[in-house]
């Protein structure tokens, strides 16, 4: 309700009848002052609504309360969703998340890291672009800033990696598909940006071997992050060419699968596991929209919350440890199969 405008902490301290260093102490840790003075400050705070100048504060602290979050492509709902979870967790812990998207481009990723370095964050959660990441840039960044990698691993970089168990994704879908019908053909991009895609192909080959089935891998061309369109076009030509040797398609990820479903619809192929169906389509990730495709997509789901939660936990643990760990750890969460109508 106070109408005065406070310019700095000095003024605010005077108005609350305290000295500036005490007030400063309060802002760094409200519990570090006597309860009675804490109350006085908080009352004055309501009355005058003062906030310390964030730039002056950060200039004088070696580590800020900023947490950088970098994702490869924010317009992908998968990353939007995981970023949302991470942001919330940071806020709950009293930190200020700074969200940045690399927009699928190496330059932008490098720029983001540059900007972040200037922001002197307490730590960074980085989901790198993957194959097209500039390894040197990332390595140098990780040397300067405590960094936890998530979603997509780059060997040896960052203090820890948290992600999903790609092999387990594929094991679960392949197992399910094999025991419920024809063995799956694997559908993927030939040059995926994300290294998880390679792990999934390899896991597919191994899983098929275990089942004693002969693998069929269909790799389609395509660059960038327009996975749905790549999947749609690729499916059209693969179907036309008869590349799928069985009636079951296992897509590397849900966004490709969305494109495949679109192509199937356009070709009037019925997708599902019913007797009147032409094809089964399954996939991985449990993209937020997978529930709403037609038919709804059978997929292996990331444990979003676990990945987000553990990433943040790990980072804060590291920050408390002075920004480094004795050794790099890799944590993989198991996905869970979500059976819907498509397979």
């Amino acid at each position: 309700m106070g109408e005065q405008k406070i310019r700095n902490m000095e003024e605010f301290a005077a108005l609350s009848g305290l000295s500036r260093p005490t007030v400063s102490k309060y802002f760094n840790d409200p519990d570090s002052v006597r309860p009675s003075t804490r109350k006085r400050i908080e009352q004055a705070l309501e009355q005058y609504d003062f906030r310390p100048n964030i730039y002056a504060v950060n200039q004088n602290r070696r580590l800020t309360k900023n947490i950088g979050i970098v994702v490869p492509y924010l317009a992908d709902p998968f990353f939007a969703e995981i970023a949302r979870n991470i942001e919330q967790l940071c806020i709950d812990t009293g930190y200020r998340p700074i969200l940045m998207s690399s927009h699928g481009q190496t330059d932008q990723e490098n720029d983001n890291l540059d900007t972040l370095r200037a922001l002197k964050p307490a730590g960074v959660l980085l989901a790198p672009l993957g194959r097209i990441s500039d390894k040197g840039v990332i390595e140098r960044f990780c040397r300067d800033v405590p960094t936890v990698l998530f979603d997509s691993n780059i060997e040896g970089m960052g203090e820890a990696f948290i992600g999903s168990d790609n092999a387990s994704f594929v094991d679960q879908t392949v197992d399910y598909l094999c025991r419920s019908g024809e063995p799956p053909c694997f559908f993927e991009m030939r040059t995926p940006a994300n290294p998880n895609a390679n792990k999934r192909r390899i896991a597919y080959l191994e899983a098929m071997a275990r089942h004693g089935e002969s693998p069929v891998v269909v790799s389609v061309e395509g660059d960038g992050w327009g996975f749905e369109e790549i999947g749609r076009r690729g499916a059209h030509s693969a179907i036309a060419a008869g590349d799928f040797k069985t009636n079951t398609i296992l897509c590397s990820n849900d966004r490709l699968a969305i494109g495949v479903l679109s192509a199937c619809y356009e070709r009037e192929l019925r997708v599902g596991r019913g007797p009147d169906c032409d094809l089964r389509v399954a996939s991985h990730d449990d993209h937020p929209f997978s529930r709403f495709t037609c038919p709804a997509l059978t997929t292996a789901a990331h444990d979003y919350k676990a990945v987000a939660g553990r990433s943040v936990e790990t980072l804060f643990e590291m920050i408390e440890h002075g920004g480094r760990f004795r050794e790099r750890t890799e944590t993989l969460f198991k996905p869970y199969l979500v059976v819907r109508a498509s397979a």
Copy 2:
């Protein structure tokens, strides 16, 4: 290649054989120094890779080079896409975008504005939550910080509003649907967060009157940002109850439509404009995934680039004008109809 670590501008100036004020001038405007000294600085820059401490810089400037971007829900690809465009434009102009999502919650929107105020941005691009926005908070914020509203208007707030012409969206879809088949029933949420939804309903009623058709509005319950699920559930019960009096459904937005398509598929209703189809479904927004629904969605498309571009232009114009305009302007862009298979 230089291996030294530069601590501050003083050191860097010494290493490049210049004085600190000159170097400071360079960083504020590279063209303000003699070309020869500019070259010297830039050579040293490559060698030693120095960046002025961003906190010290911002502390001493009244207005920073930060541009705040606030969207109501970043996990919605529509906002992710428009945010991506805006970010890029800000970077191109030499500003630093700071992207924030309100996660669909009033508290978060208020927090975001609070944080932004502390960041002393040169300007803010704000897409408010709408109905559930805290008008008082937004008004106070706009008084302190040069703000341009986009996507969703709040009467009188901010220095300008840039959005799409909701009436035109609906006019185009209704016209198209009426002249190509049965007149549409309107499908919407009863209590939409976004004020655009109300404008669309009103435009529907007017358009139907113009066509001499009797309007049918189906409003479904539902809170939050899970529009697809709300649409799916709502469509199931509306279809079961026979609420749709014609064979044509016009959804308030694409995400609801995605839910409707899902429900139709589950009920084995064929959607499209062919003779063997049961229903036509159309919508508004041209959501990034609308191309890939089954069938592909007929919709009216936002002019994303125009909205993003004009918003940024307007903001920078305003910043150059000292942060205020003589009077508030509202700019609406016309959408364009995208006819696909669903209607």
